[in-house]
Structures are given as structure tokens and as C-alpha cells.
């Protein structure tokens, strides 16, 4: 995966829209004893994806590291893997190690039930960040995620607002099945069905710039006309642009091809500002402070009012972006 700051598209967004209907009345899973173990340090086990997969992930990991420090009263252990089964194994290990909280950004939405049940049995509280999972809500305390469907919708709405005479779109998808891919693809698929957008090609480049470059190259070689590149993350947009540059196809503000990406990497926003790209959708990786809040509340025996917290996110247009935006929102 990559920039797929994934949340489960379907349920996540529904909850989000209504501002989290489940005013979760201190779910049973919160455990009976809220007294933290031994008082001084709170032990957290953090399971994340490998930070070198993308700029998004690097920022996310840094944020976690900066928050869960000893100075803040935490004793944190980290485990990284892009593979779901390795993550599950790590979770089992943390459970045996007896951490107080398990913070989890799952590689895959599926397959987590039994581990989380084990955690619950062992009195360990679970907080999901970045990606939701396909498991019963009672199994975790909270989930702090992005709303991918909304991100996609914002982007597609922006695209509609460009009022092009025709829409011939190269659609570069992320790893199939990831929450980010599902959310961002969903919005575009709808538009293709309802607004007559033409998808010249719809291919997964698996968050991988090299693959994106080859896919776009292939479309160029075939001579099929297109005027939009909708890439589900910045890396793939970059790969696409590299192919365009090679073939002398102009792109950016007022040029032949509109380039769209997601994640708001700093370098991507700079491209935006330079007018080489047209749109970048934000995907906010800074969840640590929210988690910190929740843990503090739980430690004080308070209840969590919203089980699902949706991150605040925007979309940027090349024509309106400012240097400030680049500095503030670039990751």
C-alpha cells in the first residue's frame, strides 16, 4: 500500500457524515478497570505500516514517534510491516508483552477479529488509526481515520467544476481493495456512470510510480487521446507526469492534460504551485494527537463520545494554492 491512509470506505463514511451517530456509551469493551497499570508509564504497542512506503506514511510515523515519547508519559514499542499476517503476529506478541494500549494501522481490512478478541480478553485496549478494519466495533475503543470516499468526492467535484468539453481520463488506482483505493475509485466510477466521464484506461499501478509510468506510456504509445490523469496518490501522478514529459504532452494549468493526485506531499504541492499539476487532495496523516487525547481520557476514566473520528481534509487547486498552504499542509 502507500498513501492509502485508509479507512473503511462504506461504514466509515456513513458514520462520519452523521458526525458519528454512535455516541458510544462506554462500550463494554472499555474494560472494567480503568486504572492504568503501575501508574507511571503507559505502555503502548504501535503497529504501523513500513514508513518507507510513502511520504504519507513517513509523516504519519514521525508524528506517532513525536507524540508517544517518554516525556509524554509513554513507553512505546513499534512494529512495522506491510504484511497483514506479520502485523497480526506482532499484535499477538504485544498482547503477550502486556501493553496497555494497542495502536493499529492495519495493512488489510480483514482478518483481525480473533486477535482483537484476545486483546480484549487480556484487558488491552485497542485504538485504530489511519485505517479502519472490518471487525466488530465493540472490539476497539476508537478509530481515527480519513474519509477516503469524501476525499474522492471532493476531487471529482473539483474535476466536474472544470467544465471540460469532454472527459477522457486515465485512472491510476492504488492497491486493489485498500480503503484508499476503494474510496477514491468509488467517486470516479460514479461520475463515469452518471456524468459521462470516459475512462480511457482504469488500471492499478499499486501506488507505484514506475508502474504508473508504464501504464501511461502504453496509452500514449497506443495513441488514444486523453486529457485527465486521475492518480490515487502523488507517487503515481508523478510517474504519469514522467511519461507525459517524455512524450511532449503538456500538463498542468491551462495545458493539455489535467493532473490530479492525493496525499499532499510537499513536493506535490510545489508542483501544484508551479502549475505543473492541477489538483491534490489532502490525506491527513497527523492522528497522534487525537490518539493521545483519547488515551488521556480513558486513563481518567472518561468515556469516549465519538468512536470514529474523521480527519479534517481539503483539496487544493493549482490556481488558488498559496505558499502558506504548501508549508502548512505539505507532508
Amino acid at each position: 500500500g502507500s498513501s492509502d491512509a485508509g479507512s473503511n470506505a462504506a461504514t466509515g463514511s456513513a458514520n462520519a457524515a452523521t458526525g458519528s451517530a454512535n455516541a458510544a456509551t462506554e462500550s463494554a469493551s472499555a474494560g472494567t478497570t480503568s486504572s492504568s497499570s503501575s501508574g507511571d508509564m503507559i505502555k503502548v504497542g504501535i503497529i504501523n505500516n513500513d514508513p518507507n512506503e510513502s511520504g504519507y506514511r513517513t509523516a504519519n510515523d514521525k508524528d506517532m514517534k513525536n507524540t508517544f515519547t517518554e516525556a509524554n508519559g509513554y513507553e512505546a514499542s513499534f512494529a512495522y510491516s506491510l504484511k497483514n499476517d506479520e502485523q497480526i503476529t506482532a499484535a499477538q506478541k504485544f498482547i503477550q508483552d502486556g501493553v496497555d494500549y494497542l495502536l493499529l494501522s492495519a495493512a488489510d481490512t480483514a482478518g483481525w477479529d480473533s486477535v482483537l478478541k484476545d486483546a480484549q480478553d487480556a484487558g488491552i485496549r485497542v485504538i485504530l488509526f489511519d485505517r479502519t478494519i472490518d471487525a466488530d466495533e465493540s472490539l476497539y475503543e476508537a478509530s481515527i481515520v480519513s474519509d477516503m470516499a469524501k476525499e474522492g468526492q471532493t476531487a471529482v467535484d473539483w474535476l466536474k467544476s472544470q467544465n471540460l468539453s469532454e472527459y477522457n481520463i486515465i485512472h491510476l488506482q492504488g492497491v486493489m481493495g485498500s480503503a484508499a483505493q476503494q474510496g477514491r475509485t468509488g467517486a470516479l466510477d460514479d461520475a463515469a456512470a452518471n456524468d459521462g466521464f470516459n475512462l480511457v484506461t482504469q488500471q492499478t499501478a499499486e501506488w507505484n510510480a514506475e508502474k504508473a509510468q508504464q501504464i501511461v506510456q502504453s496509452v500514449i504509445d497506443a495513441g488514444t487521446p486523453f486529457n485527465v490523469i486521475y492518480a490515487e496518490n502523488d507517487d503515481m501522478a508523478k510517474g504519469a507526469v514522467a511519461a507525459l514529459d517524455k512524450a511532449n504532452i503538456s500538463h498542468g494549468v491551462g495545458k493539455d492534460v489535467i493532473v490530479m493526485g492525493f496525499d499532499c506531499n510537499k513536493w506535490a504541492l510545489e508542483e501544484l504551485k508551479a502549475g505543473n499539476w492541477n489538483y491534490d487532495g489532502q490525506c491527513n496523516p497527523f492522528q497522534a494527537s487525537y490518539i493521545d487525547d483519547i488515551i488521556k481520557k480513558l486513563e481518567n476514566g472518561e468515556t469516549i463520545s465519538e468512536k470514529t473520528i474523521i480527519m479534517d481534509e481539503k483539496g487544493f487547486d493549482a490556481t488558488t494554492i498559496t505558499q502558506e498552504d504548501v508549508d502548512n499542509y505539505g507532508i
Partner: protein, 366 residues
């Protein structure tokens, strides 16, 4: 008696000779793929001359794409062939090693700033440093294989596991980006030259290796060591060192491939750069008809094998095969090609060729 001899000479006619030649396999594969494309859509072979964003002439078309994107694989196939020949095993760490070498290049170019306005060092310096580093890692693999006698696939599993982490470590997990346009020449075009640079780089590598094979005894030594280590030793060779050497050479190939890879996008993504390229490189060697258990090799066939793989990939992309389902189609084609090249089938083909020739000969006589 003399009659018999004549018949035997007749057997060695050009056609059946070709069928028996190792290089027949990749050539046949190329021809089959080409014919398939020709029938399916002749525009596959169209090459057009255009101008790129900087206004320089550029050739484009599927064939150029194949030459362009097949380059890294061809370069790796060179080193992989030697490693296979001498050690009878394969290096599965080349993808990870490319990540390391690429990371080093960017580290040297960018220094500690991940988005420098100017390059911190000349590109050639960065490249040379990467060569040294990649060769060191090659040497590490080589040492495990040659001196500790660990089987190559397992020995390189170590770097395969660690490589991408090391790459991330080198740049402290930053994702540096080079904005200097000259850096993108290596993976793109040099202004004024309409043929993609990677192809030139690959061509230079191929030329170099052929010169090396011609003017040194590398070929004989690696094959000899790969076939019979004991006997090579008694003939004054140092099998350990030769195995070691092939891994170092592969390291050099890795550095070159890494330069092209990072130059294509002027940046790096540690976890996906050159992903699974090791499998394709090994496949290239095998499609070239080389035995993966070492010994005799045919360099030209391996290099052609690399382009066969790229040809196949490009063809599949052209037909809009979903890229995550692409491996399934690739598998089917590869198996067909390999089955076609088994001795049994080739024997049959060669018999066919003989008949053809004899038929001709009879006609001529008549």
C-alpha cells in the same frame, strides 16, 4: 563411409543448426510475440518522431518503449548470467540492492537536504559512490556464497530481507527529489538524441561485457568453475574468488540499473523501486535457455531473454490487461515458450528443418 560423413555434414545445415542453438529459444520467443502483435494490431510497430517538452526530437512507439524499459532488466541479466554460471544459484537480492544503490545516489546528490535546489555533488561522483557501495554489497553476497559456501539463494535472502531497510536508513527515511534536469537524462532522453538513454546505457553495458568476454577468460573461468569446482581448482583456478568476482560484477550491474531507475523519476520509493525485478532477471536468464544450475551460458541469449520479458509486458499492457492480473497471463506465455524450447520439442523442430533442407537438396539435384 564417405557417404555417411556427407549425411552427417548435411545434418549441420543452417536451419537445424539454428534449432539446436541455445539462442534459438529467445529468438523464437521474440518472433512469436512479434507475429502475434503483427496479426493483432500492426500499429504496434509504428514508431513516430516527435518533440518532447524541451523541444528535442524523440522517437516513440511500443518498440521504443520496449527498448527503453527493458534496459534495466538487460543490464541485470548480464550479471545474473555470470552469477548463475559460476555459482549455480541466483541472486534474489538485486531488487533490494537497487534500492540501496539508488538511495546512495540520491543521498550523495542531495546531501542532507531532501529537496536541494542545486546538486550537492556531480552526478558522476554520486554514480561512482553507488557503484562502490553496490559492489560492496555484491561482495558481501559473494563472500557468503564463495567463502562460507552458503547456497546463493539463501545467502542473498539476507540482503533481500535487509536491503530496503538499509536503503531507507541511508536517507534517514526521507524521500529526496532531484530537480536538476540533467539528472533525468539517464532515464529519459539526452537533448538532441531521439533514442532513450537507458537503451544506450544498456548497449554500452552489453558492449563492455562482450569485450570482456572476448578479451579476458572470464567466460571460460566462470563456466569451468560452475561445472566442476574440484577440477577447476586443480587447473590453477581459484573457484572461490571467481564466484566472488561474479557477485561483485553483478553489484556493478545493479548500480547502473539503479542509476536508470532513480533517474526515471528523479526520486526513489524504497519499498517499491525495482520491485520483483530479481524474478524477472532470473527469468531472463532462463528464457535465454541457460541452465539455472550453473555451467555453460550464453550471454547474448540472456540479454535477448530480458527483452523478451519486456516485450511480453508491453504487449500485455497494450491489450489493457489489468495490471494486477498481468502475472497470470505472463505465466501462461512463459510456460508456453519454455515448453516450446524443451529438447523434445526442439528435436522435433530440428527434424522438421532437416526435412525441409533435404527436400530442397533433392529438388536441386533433380
Amino acid at each position: 563411409m564417405s557417404n555417411e560423413k556427407k549425411v552427417e555434414k548435411g545434418n549441420k545445415n543452417f536451419l537445424s543448426g539454428l534449432f539446436r542453438q541455445q539462442i534459438f529459444i529467445p529468438i523464437a520467443a521474440l518472433i512469436i510475440l512479434a507475429v502475434f502483435n503483427l496479426i493483432a494490431d500492426p500499429s504496434f510497430f509504428k514508431i513516430t518522431l516527435g518533440y518532447n517538452s524541451a523541444g528535442d526530437p524523440v522517437l516513440s512507439g511500443y518498440l521504443m518503449t520496449i527498448l527503453d524499459y527493458g534496459s534495466e532488466l538487460a543490464i541485470l541479466a548480464i550479471g545474473m548470467t555470470l552469477v548463475t554460471a559460476a555459482s549455480g544459484g541466483q541472486d534474489i537480492s538485486v531488487g533490494a540492492a537497487i534500492a540501496i544503490a539508488g538511495s546512495v545516489i540520491l543521498r550523495v546528490l542531495c546531501g542532507t537536504n531532501s529537496r536541494p535546489d542545486t546538486l550537492q555533488a556531480p552526478i558522476i561522483v554520486a554514480f561512482l559512490v553507488a557503484c562502490v557501495v553496490a559492489m560492496l554489497f555484491g561482495a558481501f553476497n559473494g563472500a557468503l556464497v564463495a567463502y562460507f559456501k552458503i547456497q546463493p539463494m539463501v545467502a542473498t535472502l539476507i540482503l533481500y530481507t535487509a536491503g530496503r531497510s538499509i536503503a531507507a536508513w541511508i536517507n534517514n527515511n526521507e524521500l529526496p527529489i532531484v530537480s536538476d534536469p540533467t539528472f533525468s537524462y539517464f532515464g529519459g532522453f539526452i537533448p538532441g538524441i531521439p533514442i532513450p538513454t537507458p537503451f544506450f546505457i544498456a548497449a554500452v553495458c552489453v558492449l563492455v561485457i562482450f569485450l570482456v568476454l572476448k578479451f579476458t577468460t572470464l567466460g571460460l573461468y566462470t563456466q569451468s568453475v560452475g561445472i566442476n569446482e574440484n577440477s577447476s581448482k586443480l587447473n590453477g583456478l581459484n573457484p572461490t574468488f571467481i564466484k566472488f568476482l561474479t557477485f561483485v560484477i553483478l553489484g556493478l550491474c545493479v548500480a547502473v540499473a539503479a542509476l536508470i531507475k532513480v533517474s526515471r523519476l528523479s526520486s526513489i520509493n524504497y519499498s517499491v523501486i525495482a520491485k520483483d525485478i530479481e524474478m524477472d532477471a532470473i527469468l531472463a536468464v532462463a528464457l535465454g535457455g541457460n541452465s539455472l544450475s550453473g555451467g555453460k551460458f550464453n550471454m547474448a541469449a540472456s540479454i535477448l531473454g530480458a527483452y523478451v520479458i519486456q516485450f511480453l509486458t508491453t504487449t500485455l499492457y497494450k491489450f489493457d490487461v489489468q495490471s494486477d492480473a498481468l502475472p497470470a497471463y505472463k505465466a501462461v506465455v512463459v510456460i508456453l515458450l519454455v515448453v516450446l524450447s524443451t529438447p523434445k520439442v526442439r528435436e522435433w523442430l530440428s527434424a522438421f528443418g532437416k526435412k525441409l533442407k533435404q527436400g530442397k537438396a533433392v529438388k536441386e539435384v533433380g
